[in-house]
Symmetry: C2
Subunit: 119 residues, 2 copies
């Protein structure tokens, strides 16, 4: 992981939606690629903000009081403690940046919880 | 800064090359946009890694032992303590992510040192 990272190459290695994979690290943060399609689960991260950068497609980050629609070249920071539920109509490619120990389903847990592999 | 961030809009607000601006925060990290053209200065950050994401153009991150050429949709993490000097032939748009207290010229200092404004 000491070379540059090409996001398109990494997304091509991903299998299904909401199966995240780690493509690199910055200090104690992980750089995570994930394909989204359909709706994820409502959850929050009480200890950390979470940065979403949309590379392809369109991501709707549902908050309890509004939807934030994020397209390619756009990013959004979900503040810590704020409930959110990502959804995407079409397959959407996301780069997520968050602390290494962040769990994808936050406080919600359940069967969508995944420990990401490194690719 | 509680809404989504459109990088193209932010880059359009930037004046000259190597005048960074802060477009958001994630925890104790800053999200910085900067246009590069020409060569910056050799420097290192002894306390932190530094994440470069290229949005437009082509960035050559010169290291002492090699050059890393990073294009749109690619990213590179300069490890802490590693000397580097970015350069770009054409105007290149970069998203940088690093701790809030990181100085753009690292240990080098000098007249290229800038305290970024928020935009």
């Amino acid at each position: 992981m000491d070379d540059k990272i090409n996001l398109s190459e990494k997304f091509s290695l991903l299998p299904d939606a909401y199966q995240p994979a780690i493509v690199g690290y910055m200090n104690d943060y992980k750089l995570v690629v994930v394909k989204t399609q359909g709706e994820f689960v409502w959850h929050k991260h009480d200890e950390t903000d979470e940065l979403f950068i949309v590379v392809k497609g369109e991501l709707t980050i549902q908050l309890r009081d509004r939807d934030v629609v994020v397209g390619p070249g756009e990013l959004f920071v979900v503040p810590k403690g704020v409930e959110h539920c990502p959804k995407a109509d079409e397959e959407t490619h996301i780069l997520l940046i968050e602390p290494r120990d962040t769990v994808n389903t936050g406080d919600a847990g359940g069967d969508r919880t995944v420990v990401p592999v490194e690719i």
